[in-house]
Amino acid sequence: MKKQIIKILTELRPEFDFSQESVDFIEEGMLDSFDMVNLVNELDTTYCISIDGVDILPENFSTVEAILKLLEKNGVK
């Protein structure tokens, strides 16, 4: 699943390396609010889930691990 998330992120912003573990994607400006909208739409479609708006917080999208946790919260295994 981790690879799949990195693939989705890379398709959104091919100019960045999302495999780096110590980087905060939001703080580093790798994802802006437009990217977040696309990312949520892509995650919803890929994993057949419906991420709630209350979970649209920078900390839930700041790293691959954070995105993994959000997916797990939405029942993705």
Partner: protein, 345 residues
Amino acid sequence: MAFLELKNVRIAGMSACVPKSIEYTKDNPYISADYDFEDFIEKTGIHSRRKDESLVTSDMWCAAAEKLICDLGWDKKEIDVIISCTQGPDYIAPCTACISQDRLGLSKECYAAEIPLGCSGWVYGLSYIGSLLSTGCMKKGLLLVGDARTVLPTSDPIVGFAGTATAIEFQEGAEGFKFHFGTDGSGYEAIIIPDGGARNRISAKSLQMEDINGRQLCRLQSRMNGMDVFSFAITTAPKSMKKLAEHFKLNLESIDYCVLHQANMQIDEIIRNKMKFPKEKVPMCLPDFGNTSSASIPLTIVSQLRGKVENKYTKFLCCGFGIGLSWGSLAFDSEGMVLSDLVEI
């Protein structure tokens, strides 16, 4: 609970006016240091918009209203009410509703008032005018909504100019309108023009450009916290429509068209998925006209559904959401609703 049901009123018709001048996103040279038009189109779904800086809001909605009055065969003397909604008034004061009464040549025996709401404005405006007309004391009215988008840099490829007119009339026994409303003023800073009101009066500082998320904006222009607005939109719009359906026992599967505020293609797509509506039931005018604020719902109906709904019984579900933060959902049925040709000036 902010539910409202108004009986004995119907939408007689709708019209919309946009500038002739088309600006294509691919031709827009620059909005920020890292702006890439292909990326922008992919992210927002906006290919073009209408823009003419020489136009003011009443130019567009009065042209739309003139066309609609003519198509309906209404006598202007019979129009008892104008409610307007804009965030781009012709003047700070007086309100554009009063100016429009005169421009349209309506009777001086006319109720005219204005609501300064944004993207939820058409739904709220319909509740105002519907409330006034549902008693039957006043019989016909116009809801005028739209914006000459003066509160954002006109180079911003998100926003489009539009003005619309919706004709509402009293009709004994008409099914009317069903609403759900919501407000979260704690999010007032999510979309805001910081200066120009009493809190921060206009000063020399108001005109200084600031870097807001990579865009150069002054404090008399609207700025947005994209993350907060996104979170708000995908949370509240589906919940509001579901609450409306539950409260009034509406069968969502029987809805013919769900018309959303045209915020951004991806945001509307997430809302559509949450509502489980097929694409063909959720028309979009965003690709051609951009985000047209309060005008976006009627503009979508006029530009996308003309020829499809006039002669058959049609069930609509609409939702407007945006600055405030404010949101409203509306269910109404139409039969014989007149949709005028798009007016271009």
